[in-house]
Amino acid sequence: MSALGTRSNPYDAIVVGGGHNGLTCAAYLARAGKKVLVLERRHVLGGAAVSEEIIPGYTFTVCSYVVSLLRPHVIRDLDLSRHGLEIVPLECSFTPHHEGPGLCRWPDPAKTRDEIARFSRHDADLYPQFGKIMGKLARFAKPIIDEPAPDPSSFRPSDLKQLLGLGKAFRDLGDDLAALQFKLTTMSAVDFLDEWFESEQLKAPMACSGIIGTMLGVHSPGTAYVLLHHYMGEIDGSSRAWGFAKGGTGAISNAIASAATELGAELRVSSPVSSIIVEKGSAVGVAMESGDDLYARTVVSGCEPRLTFLGLVGEQNLPDDFVTAMKRYKLRGSSGKVNIALDALPSFSCRPGDGPHLRGDVAIAPDIDYLERAYDDAKYGDFSHRPYINLVFPTLLDRNMAPPGHHVMSCFVQYAPYAIKEGPEHWPERRDAFGETVIDTLEEYCPDIRKHIVGKQVLTPWDLEQEFGLTEGNIFHGELTLDQLLFQRPTAGWARYETPVDRLWLCSSGVHPGGGIMSAPGYLAAQRMLEKGAV
């Protein structure tokens, strides 16, 4: 018998892209006894969930850096703990201010209450109640991320059953909560929070979760619902919504990769795919940049949908309306990443020195207006003059990521619009200025930071696209807006992991339930393929 991957002896499945979803999908297919090959373009697995020693001695969690919704059943099924996964909870959400001690939200409700009461007693009193109600809404919404997207246009009994189930769950919320759930999907983060709270200092860092990864502002309708994500994480059993994987998010990918390998999947790095081979409307394999062709009964793309279809499949193999839909698919990356190596911890002037307030995420989001102005800059094609920054010190959670006494700092920066007015290809010329803006911003809160910097890595949306295949630098493989969610992700009629190309499937964050380190699309795609006997 010839080697696997030939026409006569094809793989059961080839997964294009070794991001965490591609790896998850491969692991589940391998677990079902399928012969699976994962092809990763870069020299390292993980896609955007990757840890790399960019500066000798300092390991950066290069792109993604925190984890919230990694599906517990995936962790269990693939036994990821045994494969080295260890997630530590973030201990605090800290928002520094120019005046006063800033705001820390702790796992301990009493401590949080005291912190908020400094700004508003009213808000401090309401905060726990808000959490309770959001928890209830999250409980309603959460099953949606563990099931294929409902299809409101279908009359199939199984689909109707799912819709009725959702309808019933919706009614079971009680009418007040159901109304709130609806408002949550259409309101802006600020308007939604305004119904509850009065202090800017509390609302600003809360509103941020609504804009992450999207080219919208905190006042834009539709940004409220992402607030729910924060509360969904808590349901999965951890005391805090957000956690950090020891070793960075690359450790998550590595654990999944290790599980997949053990289950029999074959993983290849430095193996760029140039196209998906389509014959008579059916995917039969992939053409490698090396010139080789590899064949499989099924091809699964872990790449972003537009890249998959317009880049790897080609318009000539697709129906016209589908091509239009992919061209309209909104990517619009809006963020960059700055990773900094430090010879010592910087000190925040509002809460000097080391302390538990640094063992979580730090949000540079002093007030609502600051965030909205950051968006204004981006709207007209520039990066924010004073950006929203969300940062963590991974070394406070995992000592092994830098030399003793030294630290790494992982900064998510928004807004850095892909479409700058000079044109995205001019980002490399603006990269240094962007990096400096980030340091300048941080310096306003940590005056000593500059002298501790040993080195840094600045990733613009252009870099995220060129290096990590994130089209237009969108970290979620497509905006998480209402018109691109659920049964419309990536487009109506193709939200169940299948595509207009026979035997081509999708398993990336560009399909339901979307972005973030969840492993849900990878898992759901594998389930669906197995159910349908596609592999």
């Binding site: 246009s153 007040d176 109304a179 609806f182 408002k183 259409t186 006042h219 807006t481 209402l482 018109d483």
Partner: protein
């Protein structure tokens, strides 16, 4: 059964007419000296009248028009208003109908139906039966249109209009109506849904504008036997044991009534007229959070001669001065940040004297300018200087497409959102009593639990008007639906 209707605008008049036709003893109380509220045509400068502070009557509800047979009360329509679109440095053009995809033609009848029917009731214990109709209607659109509607509705007008209109100036001109009364700019998601609703609402314009609607409704209400009292502001709705007993007027006069139907804005009705203290907490909580941030101003200009933009051969009746969508977005930024308009001001203009020269002295003209982006709550407040700056911005925009326009002005009236609030008692200076947004429409307008016009916890109190379903610019429909709900309940 005696009913007091509060508010003399189209909704109040329509409600009074419907109730009186059904044999109720109706007294309508309007605080202003003239009936019509913001739709009243008034003299704003000696010899110059506008046809209503309310921008236009293109959206007069078909429900109100047909239910009250307004044609028999003197209402006539013109076929279509040509809108002239102007932008600096380019010849004006006549705005054609939007080149929307065929889908729009198919879904508008469905949307239009929702605008003349009671809002779906989503409260606890409500029967699901009334939901079946709309749900089936939605499904009857067919899978493709249904999905496309679900895709388009959450989009921004900027994204959606770009799909079918290449010319950015024309695109802006089409976007403008969708953003009236919504607290968002063209890049605001869900504004495409608002544009669809606007298209569904739009009917043939009424000859004579809002003032003509008022005249027809007044005739309908009077002939049905309603008593209409102007100059009779209500200061309080009286309750006894939580039940409505009547009203107290600002003059101190009391009027007993078995039911009160208020069209003056749901938040104002419940928070001020009933008094927040007497309101059960559940209702108070629901109404307190209704968003009413006024974002439009109105400027009336008395002109010595007609406004004829460069490149026009005659004086146009409707003009929109716009820049590309980015310019609209920048104008919106000023509202968002609560500052005076700082950049180019887009304007939506009517020159009613073109059709009705009698509104001004011989050969002179009236310009009714809607400023779609003007914040209610600007830094430093609407001082005399701030109002001057606003007027100056309007004149500069006019001047940019019609040089010499400034010199034509012989008189003016500036109504900032804060003036609108003061003059007309509009909450937040919001002309339609509550922002348009998907979360403040249908079963959520004005708020959850209040969309069926009744206030469960205050028996005898009914809410009508633009702050209620079907909301927005649909003159008269809120009043008709509220009156019908009262009659049924």
């Amino acid at each position: 059964m005696s009913v007091v209707v509060i508010g003399g605008g189209p909704d109040g008049l329509a409600a009074a007419a419907v109730l009186a036709s059904a044999g109720k003893q109706v007294t309508l109380l309007a605080p202003e000296d003239t009936l019509g509220h913001t739709s009243a045509g008034l003299e704003f400068h000696p010899g110059f009248r506008h046809t209503g502070v309310f921008p236009d009557a293109d959206n007069l509800s078909t429900l109100a028009a047909s239910a009250l047979r307004l044609d028999t009360h003197g209402l006539t329509r013109v076929s279509v208003h040509d809108v002239t679109v102007c932008t600096p440095g380019r010849d004006p053009l006549t705005l054609g109908p939007p080149r929307t995809p065929a889908l729009v033609g198919r879904v508008l009848p469905f949307l239009g139906k929702q605008l003349v029917a009671p809002a779906p009731d989503l409260t606890d214990g409500a029967s699901l039966v009334p939901l079946i109709g709309p749900a089936l209607g939605f499904r009857r659109l067919g899978a493709a249109d249904m999905m496309e509607l679900l895709r388009v509705a959450p989009l921004s007008v900027d994204d959606w209009v770009a799909e079918w209109e290449d010319d950015p100036i024309v695109a802006s001109a089409h976007m403008l109506p969708a953003l009236r009364g919504a607290w968002m700019g063209p890049r605001g998601p869900t504004s495409a849904g608002l544009l669809l609703l606007d298209l569904a609402r739009r009917g043939a314009p009424v000859r004579g504008g809002p003032a003509a609607v008022v005249a027809a409704l007044e005739a309908a209400a009077t002939s049905a036997g309603a008593t209409l009292r102007a100059g009779a502001g209500v200061s309080q709705v009286t309750l006894d044991g939580g039940r409505v007993t009547g009203v107290i007027l600002e003059s101190g006069e009391t009027l007993a009534a078995t039911a009160v139907l208020s069209t003056v804005g749901p938040r104002r009705t419940l928070m001020d007229l009933v008094s927040a203290r007497e309101l059960p907490p559940r209702t108070e909580g629901r109404i307190r959070t209704v968003r009413c941030r006024g974002s439009m101003a109105k400027v009336h200009l008395a002109l010595a001669g007609p406004l004829i933009p460069t490149g026009c051969s005659a004086a146009p009746e409707r003009v929109r001065i716009v820049g590309p969508p980015t310019a609209l977005e920048r104008a919106w930024d000023d509202v968002k940040h609560g500052r005076l308009p700082q950049s180019f001001m887009p304007l939506d203009i009517a020159q009613p004297t073109v059709a009705d020269p009698a509104l001004a002295p011989d050969g002179q003209h009236v310009l009714a300018v809607t400023v779609p982006f003007a914040a209610q709550d600007i830094d430093g407040g609407w001082t005399e200087d701030a109002r001057k700056t606003l007027l100056d911005g309007v004149l500069s925009s006019l001047e940019s497409v019609a040089p010499g326009a400034r010199d034509l002005v012989v008189g003016h009236e500036v109504l900032t959102p804060s003036d609108l609030e003061r003059t007309f008692g509009l909450d937040g200076g919001h002309l339609i009593h509550g922002e348009l947004g998907l979360d403040q429409l249908g079963p959520l307008r004005p708020a959850h639990g209040l969309a069926r016009h009744r206030v469960d916890e205050v028996p005898g109190l009914w809410l009508g008007g633009m702050g209620c379903h079907p909301g927005g610019w649909t003159g008269g429909a809120g009043g008709v639906l509220a009156a019908r709900a009262l009659l049924a309940g």
